[in-house]
């Protein structure tokens, strides 16, 4: 840390909040609020004279409130940079600190919060995690029985720099405990509080047990556990070492702790699962290995940075396996436990990875993106004509579109990822997606439905999931109907209602609308935009009186090749079960309605190109079918 602080290119801002983030990758504008610490940063040398003379003592949260600190304080002695802060809520304005500071003259009670805007190229979020307060779990009596402590309190009591100078004493009477119980999974793996496994507590509990056993060889230590999880290099060996040292492991989650009111000794009731018997042992002290939980302010951080959260409140990575450091917003990276609970080695690795991802941005003059971005036909956008719309901005998962009444919608190219949601949502067809234009997709629809359309199943597949699923069905040789014809788009959000109307207008037998499962969407919320549209379409077709099953919506992942084949075969059965004359009659009846609904698409600029594309496609297909000619 000290090295980092001395580095000419590293500027550490402590006691500072990030309030707003604007711009995009490489060009962020960040608003920082440097909170008033009433100490001049440039002058303070960290000597601590102010704290020595300060008459006010308040609980010290760094010591888990087991010791006091002064109103003039540093949060911990290893703080970098070592700057004192005046806790203005506790300060009585006696100004003794000003006197003690003397010639340095570092204390300034007139200081105000400083708000600045800074240019930032990349952002790494490393906000860490918090601890669960076990007092709501009344069965363990934390907060009621003095000798039930949390793991963090143990950490301070056991620390040479802590309030007891490393002498482990129990809070009720200050003697060294002889019998200690460590209870794992307090609040974690618990549907009443936090359902997840907190990842490192097993190892952490064993570490504390081994440490204490080395310091106090006479101490009897029991660890109560549901399962011991030691998934790391050397971890299982460490667990075995703890067993060999004589630490007692009891499989069984305690249901109750009772206290002897006289001695303040504790009785832990649990089942010994290996014996199948209820056991009750007496201890001097109990340590609760409490759950690790997200920071309380994750919501405001994620809204400031425009990054999403996984269930539970961890920041969402771009892809859990392939891009675990990146967020869906380019230029913002995640390090450590804020993304998901990690132990120290994993946190250090992810920190290094995030720094290296960020330096890629800082070292390049240009930033490459996929060329499939959205473009606005400015003359068609009704926002430019002074009307309220903004549907495109609402559909965009990346906040890449800015809409201001009186001006055409504006796409920030660097933020656009090319899902095409805005293109399909725009009711005036005023946006197009490069390489996935309406004309190009229309040409595919028309070509694929050129002959005997009533026999065909037209499948719209999203690039990331259902296209992969169809691919897997092919490579795995799952048999499915040969009448299936697929069209690839980037996301189910791009599957414009007009395409579906057009397909049915042309007389398609059935249409499949397929994409990722909601949690798998490559474009954060693109699937939800697509799914909402599919719901609307389903209702419309139902009202029109279309045979159920001719329009089908399925979410198929890239690993579900078998599902893709099954869905297509089921759709083929639906078509087969309708007598041919009846099907043709239904298509004819519905055709005018479909045409009416799809009419706006025919006005789209460059839609005429579809005819040229269609001719070219037809030529290619013919050449494929008749290789001799």
């Amino acid at each position: 840390m000290v090295d980092a602080a001395r580095h000419p290119n590293i500027d550490i801002r402590t006691y500072t909040n990030v309030e707003r983030v604007e711009g995009y990758v490489g060009n962020f504008k960040v608003q920082l609020r440097q909170k008033a610490r009433y100490v001049i940063r440039e002058r303070c040398n960290g000597c601590g004279e102010c704290a020595r003379v300060c008459p006010i003592e308040v609980p010290n949260p760094f010591e888990m409130n087991l010791a006091p600190r002064k109103a003039a304080y540093v949060s911990m002695s290893q703080s970098v940079p070592l700057l004192y802060t005046i806790d203005i809520d506790a300060c009585i304005h006696c100004y003794k600190c000003v006197e003690a500071c003397g010639a340095l003259d570092a204390i300034d009670f007139s200081q105000q919060d400083q708000v600045t805007w800074e240019d930032i190229g990349a952002i790494v979020v490393a906000t860490g995690f918090n601890h669960f307060d076990p007092s709501p779990m009344t069965e363990y009596g934390y907060g009621k029985y003095p000798n039930v402590i949390t793991a963090m309190e143990m950490e301070r009591l056991n620390n040479a720099a802590g309030p007891t100078v490393g002498n482990l004493i129990r809070p009720s009477d200050g003697i060294n405990p002889k019998n200690l119980a460590i209870i794992n999974c307090v609040g974690s793996r618990d549907q009443r509080f936090y359902p997840w496994c907190s990842n490192f507590c097993c190892m952490y509990g064993i570490k504390n047990a081994v440490l204490l056993k080395q310091m106090y060889p006479d101490m009897n230590i029991s660890i109560y556990y549901i399962d011991i999880r030691t998934p790391g290099k050397g971890y299982e060996e460490f667990y075995n070492r703890a067993r060999e040292m004589g630490i007692r492991f009891i499989q069984g989650r305690p249901s109750l702790i009772t206290e002897d009111a006289g001695t303040h000794n504790l009785f832990v009731h649990s089942e010994d699962v290996a014996l199948g018997k209820v056991v009750e042992y007496e201890y001097d002290m109990v340590m609760l290995n409490q759950a690790a939980v997200p920071q309380p302010d994750v919501d405001s951080v994620s809204s400031v940075l425009n990054i999403t959260q996984s269930p539970g409140g961890w920041f969402m990575e771009y892809h859990p396996k392939l891009r675990p450091i990146d967020t869906p917003t380019d230029g913002i990276f995640l390090a450590g436990a804020c993304q998901g609970l990690k132990d120290i080695p994993a946190s250090v690795s992810s920190g290094s990875a995030a720094a290296s991802r960020a330096s890629r941005i800082l070292h390049s003059d240009q930033w490459e993106i996929e060329p499939i971005i959205a473009q606005v036909w400015e003359d068609r956008c009704i926002s430019a004509q002074g009307k309220q719309c903004g549907l495109c901005a609402k559909a965009c998962p990346y906040g890449a579109i800015e809409v201001e009444v009186g001006k055409p919608a504006k796409v920030f190219v660097a933020k656009c990822h090319g899902c095409g949601g805005c293109v399909a949502e725009c009711p005036h067809n005023a946006i197009t997606q490069m390489h996935f234009t309406d004309a190009q997709i229309l040409a595919q629809i028309r070509t694929l439905l050129a002959e005997k359309p009533e026999e065909k199943i037209l499948a719209f597949r999203c690039h990331w999931c259902s296209y992969g699923g169809a691919d897997l069905a092919g490579t795995s040789h799952f048999e499915y109907s040969a009448n299936e014809r697929g069209i690839r788009v980037m996301c189910s959000a791009r599957m414009d209602a007009d395409f579906i109307y057009e397909a049915f207008r042309l007389g398609a037998g059935a249409v499949l609308y397929s994409g990722c499962h909601p949690q798998d969407c490559n474009y954060i919320t693109g699937q939800r935009v697509g799914a909402a549209r599919a719901d609307r379409l389903m209702k419309i077709f139902e009202k029109m009186g279309m045979t159920p099953g001719r329009f089908r919506v399925e979410w198929i992942s890239a690993s579900e090749g078998d599902k893709y084949a099954r869905v297509i075969n089921e759709m083929q059965k639906v078509i087969d079960n309708i007598p041919r004359e009846q099907l043709l009659k239904e298509i004819e009846t519905l055709r005018p309605q479909m045409e009416q609904r799809a009419r706006r698409m025919y006005e789209t600029p460059q839609v005429d190109e579809a005819l040229i594309y269609a001719d070219k496609l037809k030529a290619i297909l013919t050449a494929k079918e008749n290789p001799g000619e």
Binding site: Q191, G252, F267, E271, K277
Partner: protein, 320 residues
Amino acid sequence: MNEHKLDTTSSFADQVRAIPGGEHLDLCYSCGTCVSKCLIQQKVEPEYNPRRLLRMVMMDKREEAFKSPTTWLCSACDLCYPACPQQIHISGVIGAVKQLAVEAGYTSPLETVKVDETLCSGCAICVMSCPYGAPHLIEKEVNGVMDRFSEVDVNKCMGCGICVAACPMGAISRPGVANVDILPQVRVEKIKGVPSLVVFICDWCLREDDDVALLESYPPNVRVIHIPCSGRIDPQLALFALSSGIDGVLVCGCALGECHFKRGNYVSACKLSILDTMLEQMDVADRRVRFVRIGTQERGQIRREIDAMLELLGSFRVVN
């Protein structure tokens, strides 16, 4: 023998899951919280183990589950339900197994209440008072007369004795704690020394062994009578004790929400609070009959309560 073969189509586990209460069976990860929260293993049956019963169901061990004491001894007090980290409604699962066991012809091995048909008037107060819906009215001919009588479903009765206290005709009895068993013990000539105190203590409100042992250590002026549930206490028992010259009566029940028989502690608390008012009207307003709730987490509370009662009764003696 298909002991090791798992039938996943319509297994025993599926049948249990299909009964309301049995749904969340598969979430159990065998942490043992339910076993140690429950007092049955410690107090009644060492083989009692809800976690293992859930496992038997999951592994399709039908006969073993039906024969297990866990199936029959669970009184659905639901102490384990709020403690379960997976929020499995364990008594619901056990109830589902019990239902299947009864359908398969197994019967409860528990000691249940008996109705004396010569005394029963068919008033149905027992039907209303039972937390398990065990008694119901039937019509049958006794001594040549068609009449309504109460009949108890032995597979539902848990033997708490709430109906015994409720029956106005004294027609219901439970072996061991019938009126004929208790009344002779609350006579003053049986209790040596002053102040004389009768302590009715519910079997389920003391968790700690040293608290249970404490009850034996009092001198003979304190008579401790164990009852299955504080709901068994009929106010008449207390009045009988007072009228026979005993100084005080202490009824100990479980804390709110901890009753082993769902609501026995509410029933007795209500009855004894009415008795309190009655005694006040009779100018016996010094709280000689007292109901106290003993929490299972409160080690040593029973000693404090009895000592406080003895002190109170001792002070009356001095004044009188």
